[in-house]
Symmetry: C2
Subunit: 128 residues, 2 copies
DNA sequence: CTTGACCCTCCAGCTACAGGAACCCTTATC
DNA sequence: GATAAGGGTTCCTGTAGCTGGAGGGTCAAG
């Protein structure tokens, strides 16, 4: 299978698939013409990675997940630990964003938003 | 004032301050020895930028905010619009993260996390 | 005079790709 | 046989917002 078809099946751009080969996530064969030749397993792995990325795992975490995925003797505890670590990071990001959101929306409510120059947002950002 | 002192007063690393000069956010004078020489206004602007960044504004948004800050004839509507745009982006990020969080924490709850290889997390990521 | 704490510039690297140039391969059509 | 379209390939550059490090100059104290 050529890269275009794989892009459709995995939902990933061809560029991304080449990149994933570059960093060693997949190792497709090559045809006589130099084209990458993907088998079902490659596609499966790409879908796995795409899903993992969508859940917020970094590339390096995906790499470890893939290793665990292919290791049939793995312990689910290892997977769970990776997932929990990711969850913690997500929670931290959410907390940061919500804190920003609270301050920002408060300032927005205070600001008249008209033609006058007086602005609580700028006052707040610039206060000493 | 030298960069080290400014770093302390603004809470920004010296590296970051140099970077902000690089991209034209501030334009400190130079002493005879080549050292940057910051005045109170520079420090004030750096603090302004640091606060704006902490509220999630991008560097380019900070640049526009700074321009508005220094334009005493500005309309607060322009500031408010920038802030609202930022708020929208923050809300989108929060929504994305919460959606990830929901799926991920569900999978984590399902996973035994013991020494056995059976793992709902991997099953989910790898299902066709 | 030396030491150590500053300061300088410039280059590389980080994440996870995206865009584009310049070129090759295949197939269909005229 | 020429050509055009639509694949594919590599390689280089750029993104955001810094951070780290090499290799050097400057300054105040002892």
């Amino acid at each position: 299978m050529n890269i275009g078809e794989v892009a459709i099946q995995s939902g990933l751009p061809a560029k991304t698939i080449r990149y994933y080969e570059d960093i060693g996530l997949i190792k497709p064969d090559r045809g006589a013409n130099g084209y990458r030749s993907f088998d079902a397993k490659d596609v499966h792995k790409l879908i796995f990675v795409a899903r993992s990325r969508a859940l917020g795992f970094t590339i390096e975490q995906c790499r470890r997940l893939l290793t665990l995925y292919e290791d049939h003797g793995r312990a689910s505890a290892d997977v769970k630990q990776l997932a929990k670590q990711n969850l913690t990071e997500i929670d931290e990001k959410i907390a940061d964003l919500q804190s920003m959101r609270a301050t920002l929306s408060h300032l927005i409510r205070e600001c008249a938003g008209d033609q006058r120059p007086d602005c609580p947002i700028l006052n707040n950002l610039g206060k000493l």
